[in-house]
């Protein structure tokens, strides 16, 4: 009896702390532990996977906190510095920040048969694991392009914006890379991969590009027709919209298509490391991958988990080369303080003309 009382006090303390963005999934069975997830993925997208996980782990209650990538990173480090680590599992599309956590020694090691099937680029030091396969795509409002061909490459996009600059003024959108960590990651990778990126940013600047923090916001604007062109958006979210009948078209840039992966890191400081291991193993398992793809629309990184959203379908759809962003120390470069300041300066210098 006394034990139950203590648990309920702890539960209420935990509840009191939870802020508005947190969602609680009570344990299905008798609750024995609480697993806290910090994630950049929309709660609605991830919910199915959590419910499915709880079916086989009924004793684990889950607190899911949706945060922007940089906020997630800072909050985790801040709590650690204060000596009150809360997060058991960090899921972030900001691969660079996750890589930095691993590099700086905050991650616990995880090994499982599922983890070993991951491609080399989506796995680092047995401490960072990519569990989705998400190309960065161009999204167009089909209504705005009636009678026009959709640009298939960055060069064609630049060409289009230059030729009909008045038509597209104010109707181009991309991530606010100062506030969207996945946007920053994609932009920095573009800067590294493409010689045309500078020209593209300038052209988008000339077109009074609109920047947003969240993918969802950009897709909303595109769906409503306020924006006609979205650049470098995460394909998974767009695919879901298309599937639900939005007037959107997805183009995998043919010159190259960046692929990022939502990256899981187990903090060594996790209060409930054991449950975190279990959830990570679930996310990497075929069942978890299939649930993420079918229910959440997040393409599976494992080929065995073929579904509505699978790597194979993306490979079939993309005509150009796919360039996965490699999890590793290279990602630290654009996080360098000087490098980041300079990159942001030049990006916003081009965009805010």
């Amino acid at each position: 009896m006394r034990g139950a009382w203590l648990v309920s006090v702890a539960w209420m303390t935990a509840m009191a702390w939870v802020d508005a963005s947190a969602e609680i999934y009570p344990a299905v069975g008798a609750r024995t532990s609480l697993l806290t997830i910090y994630s950049t993925t929309d709660t609605s997208v991830f919910e199915a996977a959590i419910r499915d996980f709880q079916k086989s782990n009924p004793s684990i209650a889950i607190q899911y906190e949706e945060l922007e990538g940089t906020v997630l990173y800072r909050r985790f480090l801040g709590e650690l510095a204060r000596g009150t680590p809360k997060a058991d599992l960090l899921l972030s599309s900001a691969m660079d920040l996750q890589a930095k956590l691993v590099n700086d020694g905050y991650a616990a090691t995880h090994d499982s048969p599922s983890a070993r099937t991951l491609p080399a680029w989506a796995r680092w030091r047995d401490q960072a694991f990519g569990f989705t396969f998400e190309p960065a795509v161009m999204v167009f409002n089909v209504d705005a392009f009636v009678g026009r061909a959709l640009p298939q490459t960055r060069a064609e996009l630049i060409d289009l914006l230059r030729r009909e600059s008045l038509t597209w003024r104010g109707r181009v959108g991309t991530y606010d890379i100062a506030n969207s960590s996945v946007g920053y990651l994609l932009a920095s990778q573009d800067a590294r991969q493409s010689s045309e990126f500078g020209a593209l940013i300038e052209t988008m600047g000339d077109s009074h590009v609109r920047v947003e923090r969240r993918t969802g916001a950009l897709l909303d604007l595109l769906e409503k027709g306020e924006l006609a062109i979205g650049y470098n958006l995460l394909g998974s979210y767009a695919q879901t919209r298309v599937a639900s009948g939005a007037p959107l078209a997805i183009v995998y840039p043919r010159d190259y298509t960046l692929v990022v992966t939502r990256t899981a890191v187990l903090p060594a400081s996790a209060p409930n490391l054991e449950a975190a291991h279990r959830l990570l193993d679930y996310l990497l398992s075929i069942r978890g991958q299939r649930t993420l793809a079918d229910e959440g629309g997040l393409p599976a990184i494992r080929n065995e988990a073929a579904g509505r959203q699978s790597q194979r379908r993306i490979l079939d759809a993309a005509v150009g080369p796919l360039r996965p962003v490699v999890l590793g120390p290279g990602l630290l470069v654009y996080l360098d303080a000087q490098k980041k300041r300079r990159f942001l300066d030049s990006w916003f210098g081009a965009v805010d003309q």
Partner: protein
């Protein structure tokens, strides 16, 4: 009799070789570890230096501030070690961090003079950082702007995981063949020794299967190293065979010698049974004579056996030869004939190191012989002890018939009497010679001045270590 057990040859060889290989392998392992670490460091240090260099290339000065444009390749190239963490820092003339990890362990140039070394290329060092051992490269660039002077340092570090793996691989590559060779060598040794010792086993089987009287030489072919042992065994068997031969001859001769007096004893006893009183007395006298002969023969045989036995063991002690001579006369000469022996000695005492029993037997036999063959004369047997340069001479002289020169070699053999044909067991001089030889001396036979035989024993003082 159980031989003391010693380690088998195989165990010894295998043990020694095993030890050798063990120490060799340990020494090699240490050397290989050092070498592996050096080699791994050398190859990965190049990457680290390349990374630091590529960062240093981008150093520039803008508005009196040092600018670094970290190239993507600078850190990406380090993912050649895929599982290693990477740290970097650029710090300026005032040691303030320009960019990167501010808390990296410092490398301080040992002295101001050494700063010049920065021109020669990057320096490397190991340090603990964030819970792991990290290898660092530091590269210096000198800045000489009007308002900014000094050195800017680029420091790049990488955890040692890939290096240690490479080093381990190198060590394994070096040590595995050696361990393999060691095991092979051990197998060859074990097998080779069994093969090499096979002939010895055959010899053993051959010997153990033999009848006791079979003393033919061993003809089993053996390796050269074992041949001396087999030669020694064969030599020993030859000597044993000779010794057994002579023992047989001796037993035959001794039996023969005893049979004659026994036969005449029986004959005389038989005759006496039917004879008259006078005849019986004569017969009894003959019986007494023959019994005396037999008794003397048995004494000599016993004496010979004693001397033979004593020859095998050394019982040398300090004795007095004068006392020994008197003792020999006391024990060996019947009371009635004591007067027939005369002793003369220059000194009252003659200290000597030797075997009292052997010399006593020799003297008894000599005096007995002298009394027997020369005692009929009026003159007593003369025993003389004389001190000579290297020891003593004992001469026993009688007035008997002497021994012809031609016989003097032969009389030392057992049962070989002189041609003079006087009856006697013929053991006496053989016993004397054996006893004297045992003391490193010699026996000489000479004609006595004025007729008779003189036997001279020359007994040299024992020289320390001059064992015979």
């Amino acid at each position: 009799m159980m031989r003391p057990r010693t380690l088998s040859l195989r165990a010894r060889l295998v043990g020694m070789l095993g030890l050798l290989f063990l120490f060799g392998t340990i020494a090699l392992l240490i050397a290989a570890r050092e070498y592996g670490r050096l080699a791994a460091d050398k190859s990965y240090d190049r990457l680290l230096a390349g990374s630091a260099l590529s960062i240093a290339e981008t150093l520039s000065i803008d508005n009196s501030a040092i600018q670094v444009d970290l190239p993507y390749a600078a850190l990406d190239m380090l993912s050649a070690a895929p599982d290693d963490r990477v740290f970097y820092r650029v710090y300026g003339p005032d040691a303030g961090t320009i960019t990167g990890y501010e808390d990296l362990p410092n490398w301080q140039p040992p002295s101001r003079r050494d700063r010049g070394l920065a021109f020669e290329g990057p320096r490397f060092f190991d340090a603990q950082y964030r819970g792991e051992s990290v290898r660092f490269a530091v590269l210096g660039r000198e800045i000489a702007e009007p308002d900014l002077q000094g050195w800017v340092w680029v420091q790049v570090g990488q955890t040692r995981r890939a290096r240690d793996e490479l080093a381990q691989e190198l060590v394994l590559g070096a040590v595995a063949p050696i361990v393999l060779m060691t095991l092979l060598a051990m197998a060859v040794v074990i097998f080779g020794i069994s093969r090499a010792l096979r002939p010895l086993q055959n010899v053993g089987e051959d010997l153990s299967m033999r009848q006791p009287e079979d003393l033919r030489p061993v003809v089993e072919p053996v390796p050269r190293e074992i041949a001396p042992l087999i030669d020694a065994i064969n030599g020993f068997m030859r000597r044993l065979s000779l010794s057994i031969e002579s023992l047989r001859a001796f037993i035959g001769e001794a039996a023969h010698q005893m049979r004659t007096p026994l036969a005449s004893l029986r004959a005389q006893a038989h005759l006496a049974a039917d004879d008259d009183a006078e005849g019986q007395r004569r017969s009894l006298a003959a019986v007494e004579r023959n019994a005396a002969r037999l008794s003397r023969l048995l004494d000599q045989l016993l004496s010979d056996a004693t001397v033979m036995h004593r020859s095998d063991v050394r019982v040398f002690e300090s004795i007095d030869l004068v006392a020994l001579i008197h003792e020999a006369i006391n024990e060996g000469v019947s009371h009635s004939r004591k007067g027939d022996v005369c002793v003369s000695s220059e000194a009252d005492q003659a200290p000597f190191v030797g075997d009292a029993l052997l010399l006593g037997e020799a003297l008894k036999n000599l005096i007995d012989n002298a009394l027997k063959y020369g005692g009929e004369a009026d003159e007593p047997v003369q025993v003389t002890l004389q001190k000579v340069a290297d020891g003593y001479c004992i001469a026993v002289a009688d007035r008997g018939p002497g021994i012809p020169v031609s016989d003097r070699e032969r009389v030392f053999q057992r049962f070989a009497r002189g041609e003079s044909g006087i009856a006697g067991a013929g053991l006496g001089l053989a016993i004397v010679q054996r006893a004297v030889l045992r003391h490193g001396g010699e026996v000489r036979l000479a004609d006595r001045h004025g007729g008779g035989l003189e036997v001279i024993l020359h007994l040299p003082r024992r020289v320390e270590g001059g064992d015979t």
